[in-house]
């Protein structure tokens, strides 16, 4: 396995009650790489990112960040170590302003790494200028696309080494999806490692990338290339379609 891997999962498995949500899965994400996790509903994609973020308890296997075994580091401590999760459904926090949301993200980076608040905020607001006009607004008044951008900005303020995104395009208008992917492309170009969960193939490309296709909690495809449309169809629909 890649010795220079930034985030490494070793035979990671998760079980909910008596259901195996994720069968042992291994992968390594190099610094500045894109790991695309595809699969239909209920395939275990969210479970995989939750296991990486610490929000799901591992049944077996280990997770490494750099050389460090973080399998038993609780979710809230993994953030300061550099694993930030943008949860499914965009993590709307009604009652909190856009500014409050961003400050929460900035705090999450931990005292040593977060730097000056104004500088950190300026940096992410340069990436998502829409948010600058909405700083005082309650985040529940944002549109879906704006909220997704806020969720990403919030996660970025935590100064992650690896950004985990759980279906950022879910329920967004095509134009909003395009905007979100534009921003993600810039982040990848700047060398951020990303684990991206989606249901459909995405236009996003990384210099180094791996695609994992999950089906019923198992990796049915894991290669450093994208599956073709025909492959994807047969992987999603099972053997009969092949």
């Amino acid at each position: 396995m890649n010795a220079a891997a930034l985030l490494r999962a070793e035979r990671v498995a998760v079980r909910y009650g008596r259901v195996d949500a994720l069968h042992p899965l291994s992968f390594a994400a190099a610094p500045g790489s894109l790991t695309l996790v595809l699969g239909p509903n209920g395939a275990g994609k969210t479970t995989l990112v939750k296991a990486l973020a610490g929000a799901a308890v591992l049944r077996s296997g280990r997770v490494f960040l750099g050389d460090e075994d973080i399998s038993w580091v609780p979710a809230h401590r993994r953030v300061a170590r550099g694993i930030a999760l943008v949860p499914e459904g965009r993590g709307r926090l009604p009652g909190l302003s856009v500014f409050d949301n961003l400050v929460l993200g900035w705090h999450a980076a931990g005292r040593g790494r977060r730097g000056e608040r104004a500088d950190a905020l300026d940096e992410v607001l340069a990436l998502f200028p829409v948010l600058k006009e909405r700083l005082d607004q309650d985040c529940s008044t944002l549109s879906g696309g704006e909220m997704q951008m806020l969720a990403i900005a919030r996660a970025l303020l935590a100064k992650p080494q690896v950004l985990l995104l759980d279906e950022p395009s879910l329920g967004l208008a095509p134009l909003a999806v395009a905007r979100v992917y534009e921003a993600l492309a810039i982040l990848i170009a700047n060398g951020l490692s990303m684990v991206l969960v989606e249901q459909k193939a995405v236009p996003l490309r990384g210099a180094r990338e791996t695609t994992i296709v999950l089906q019923n909690g198992r990796a049915v495809f894991q290669e450093e290339r994208r599956p073709t449309v025909e492959e994807l169809a047969s992987l999603y629909l099972g053997e009969r379609a092949a």
Partner: protein, 330 residues
């Protein structure tokens, strides 16, 4: 209504209430002064619940438990051990804080209804315990002639001086609430109130923050409990009856969870309602609960609730009669 308008209205209501509180001893009857003292002390308990429920989003019926620790702490430490009433008040608050930490760690792993039920059990248990533990608490007879609080030679043993003391304490607790609400801790609490998983993904130690809210709330409720006992110089199990918990919750829900002005307003409404409705005799409760039902139907998040939802009543109206709201964009 924009958040800014709402904040402005809240500010003026607070200012108006402060003016009433300052003027009342000069113009009000003794009964009004008495009721306002009770309002101040209950408002403190409501503020303590507002930290736990309004900010951190954890339903707790346990505020009377901590009031009882304060009340019985003050009574026992002064009468049995001869401690200074101030020292007894402070020691009881520390005890309540410690109790909240010990109880909170296992209890606050529960969520929603389960947490509500566990704290409800705690409230029921508190009342039974102080009734049953006769050697310590003197059972249902209670402990009387609790010595008054003193500064030098000045004793807070008449209605006027206690009025001032209780309002100073109440405004102090509101100040603590405001400081917490606008700090990073308040932000983290409001985040975890909406979603524990989102809070976790923002590096917030969910259990630690919940326990912190519970503990701060416990200390404030304990001080209110101590002051109440100092006010009446008596403590008994009836002060911690389950009905009191429900009243405190009602005060918060009427006033508005998470707001600054809500707790005092809610406490005032519930304390003064029986007097305003006294003329109605046996229909008193009927009218009061009718009013309550109407309030919940029109203002589900309370008079000063942060989130202004459409109440069910509003949803029954034809669309052109409903309050104009900024439509949520897709």
């Amino acid at each position: 209504m924009s958040p800014r308008t709402r904040a402005r209205i809240e500010f003026w209501v607070l200012a108006l209430m402060l003016a009433c509180v300052i003027l009342a001893p000069f113009v009000g009857s003794r009964l009004v002064v008495y009721d306002l003292t009770v309002t101040a002390l209950y408002a403190m308990v409501v503020v303590s619940l507002n930290i736990v429920l309004g900010l951190a989003g954890q339903v707790s019926f346990a505020q009377t438990t901590f009031m009882a620790i304060g009340g019985y702490g003050s009574a026992l430490l002064t009468t049995a051990l001869g401690l200074d009433p101030w020292a007894a008040l402070a020691l009881s608050a520390l005890l309540a804080l410690a109790a909240a930490l010990v109880i909170g760690v296992p209890l606050l792993r529960l969520r929603g209804h389960y947490l509500a039920m566990a704290t409800f059990a705690l409230a029921l248990g508190t009342n039974s315990f102080v009734t049953a533990a006769t050697p310590l608490t003197n059972g249902s007879i209670g402990i009387s002639s609790v010595p008054p609080l003193q500064i030098g030679d000045f004793a807070f043993d008449d209605a006027r001086s206690f009025y001032v003391l209780s309002w100073v304490a109440c405004i102090g607790s509101m100040g603590i609430f405001a400081l917490l609400a606008h700090s990073h801790i308040g932000r983290a609490w409001r985040a975890l109130a909406t979603g524990q998983e989102i809070a976790q993904s923002l590096g917030i130690d969910v259990t630690a923050y919940k326990v912190l809210a519970f503990a701060i709330g416990a200390a404030i409720a304990s001080v209110a409990g101590s002051l109440y006992v100092e006010f009446t110089s008596f403590v008994g199990p009836d002060l911690y009856d389950i009905g009191i918990v429900l009243n405190v919750l009602l005060m918060l829900f009427i006033g508005g969870r998470g707001s600054h002005a809500g707790p005092v307003l809610g406490a005032a409404i519930l304390t003064f309602a029986p007097q305003f409705l006294a003329g109605l005799e046996q229909y008193q409760n009927l009218v009061f609960f009718g009013f309550l039902l109407l309030l919940i139907l029109t203002w589900p998040s309370g008079l000063f609730g942060r989130v202004r939802d459409s109440g069910p009543i509003e949803l029954m109206l034809p669309i052109w009669l409903r309050r104009r709201r900024s439509a949520e964009s897709p």
